[in-house]
Symmetry: C2
């Protein structure tokens, strides 16, 4: 039996292109002692993998992939062979060896964004792929960013960037459901309409003019908190728009993923003049909050107060296209690759 | 009677030069209702005034001075005429209208760095000028930065930049007295010797090679906390040297004061990968901690465990030279201008 998987063909320069990645086929190995063989059913397509395609990665991050290396990422699958006492054939698990049809996973699996060893999933009646989205890493990222990092209150005005994305759309809605005033920024008129008409969240397209002007139109008295998925000029604009004692949660910086030479905000000193706080985080450091996140989010999903949208690509042969589409802003909500059809 | 004071002669370009400022003489006005006339005895010479000499100031900061405007800054003086029921002739007060021999101060005085209306000082047997230094704004800045912003513990390794300066030397010593491992960076071999031999704090001269290398020599396993008085390349080096969950207190950014176009750190994303926290502050927002700071610091000063050094310039005619010397790194400890001789 053969396994198809995505690997880095050559180091991308600037915007990631299709030819930078390749789909290859190799025999499926047998699991060794303590390992399981997983048939992947859902792959999470996240912007963060772009970071590891550059020739250097930020201090503290996973090392860069080398040409020929397999891509990895969060995934769901079914155990089809097990040499581990912890997992039986048929178990549904989440793990970190995505971008492939079959994965050999040990209990000491590689850590991605703080997530490590495979974990059994009890999905009940819920769509299993939600455990990569609102009930998984995306949900925990939004939840932690809002309530642990920003310590959001009902009197805050919050700006969420990339607000139609997997994390952004959850963050914007969760904040609103908790009573906070929220505005979002997105990259297309369609996404503005989605935010405004479907999620009930005022939003602007960042292409539509200078960010300070767009922000001022929706938050004339400034903002108290910023959930950053973008970095670059968005972070600069947030520093200027924040009121004294404002807070920033640094979650991602997609603006810089194609170009590691993006300078930091030139106005960082406003943090001194306004007494601002900024904190970076990864959901994987807060897995102890996963249960409370799942209780709250699944309640909202069940009664329809939280809208979750997916952009689903079918088959491992579409995984590269899915990644390119997501990075270029062409997808809405959680981007997934489905392998079980 | 005439009053000599320092004003902005022309907008500085790059490094501040003597001819950018001028000493002028005007008649001393009479205090109006609610105002007092203060004869200044000590002027605090602080780097932050440089920020207001540029043509724009950071969002949230005081507006820029215009050519012809008087400089201001923290000062101590004696009330020599009063039309306020709150102050009597002979009262010793701190206020924010420095850079001049006589000041007319209302109870609604201009706020400098969070400090506002004049405050009566009870110096007892202590040197009065300590209330501009270790028992005043410099002491509170060090204290707040260490214990409120960085939440320093005894297991931390702390880097203090500009560690021979008014705030830095206090911060480095206070941290050490509380049991934290401290290292400092300074701008000359003499200052390295001062830190090492007189304060007992390992230090390096930032001119002596790449910052990451100098830091690694004194903190081979990285740092947990960074007290930033410099910004620029120092902040970039700190982001790389910080261990996971590390903290940064942004206090000042003297590297950028001569050139407002200094970009932010290009490696800000390490805050995400390492879960770092950064917080800007000004002591003036924490005056409720002044009493506890004074209790602790005056104890250390009394028993000789805290060494306080001053660079004193005499007479208002030396105020411009004092500011230039301090900004160029030629002074050690607290820079003061003494007017009572």
């Amino acid at each position: 039996m053969m396994n198809r998987h995505v690997r880095l063909a050559r180091r991308p320069i600037g915007k990631l292109r299709s030819a930078d990645l390749e789909l290859v086929e190799t025999p499926i190995p047998d699991p060794g002692p303590g390992e399981v063989l997983i048939r992947n059913t859902w792959l999470s397509i996240d912007p963060s993998i772009r970071i590891r395609l550059a020739d250097t990665t930020p201090n503290g991050y996973l090392p860069p992939l080398q040409p020929g290396d397999e891509l990895s990422g969060l995934a769901l699958g079914t155990v089809v062979a097990s040499r581990s006492p912890e997992f039986a054939i048929g178990d549904l698990v989440s793990h970190t060896l995505g971008y492939r049809e079959y994965a050999i996973v040990g209990t000491q699996a590689q850590t991605i964004g703080g997530y490590g060893a495979p974990a059994r999933i009890d999905a009940g009646q819920l769509p299993i792929q939600w455990f990569l989205g609102p009930l998984g890493s995306a949900g925990l990222t939004a939840y932690v960013g809002l309530f642990e990092i920003l310590e959001l209150t009902t009197t805050d005005v919050l700006w969420v960037s990339s607000a139609a994305g997997a994390v952004g759309a959850l963050a914007a809605q969760l904040a609103k459901l908790r009573g906070t005033t929220v505005l979002g920024s997105v990259g297309s008129p369609e996404k503005v309409a989605y935010l405004r008409d479907e999620l009930g969240i005022p939003a602007f397209d960042y292409h539509d003019g200078p960010l300070p002007k767009s922000l001022a139109a929706l938050a004339p008295r400034g903002i108290d908190a910023y959930f950053d998925n973008v970095g670059g000029d968005h972070l600069t604009a947030a520093l200027d728009a924040l009121r004294p004692s404002g807070r920033i949660a640094l979650c991602g910086a997609i603006a810089g993923y194609d170009d590691s030479a993006v300078p930091g905000p030139p106005n960082l000193f406003t943090m001194v003049s306004k007494g601002l706080r900024m904190r970076g985080f990864r959901a994987g450091s807060f897995t102890h909050l996963e249960d409370s996140m799942r209780r709250e989010v699944s309640g909202y999903l069940a009664d329809g107060r939280l809208i979750h949208r997916e952009s689903v690509f079918d088959g491992i042969e579409s995984a590269i296209a899915a990644l390119l589409a997501m990075l270029s802003g062409a997808t809405v909500g959680k981007t997934l690759c489905r392998l079980d059809t």
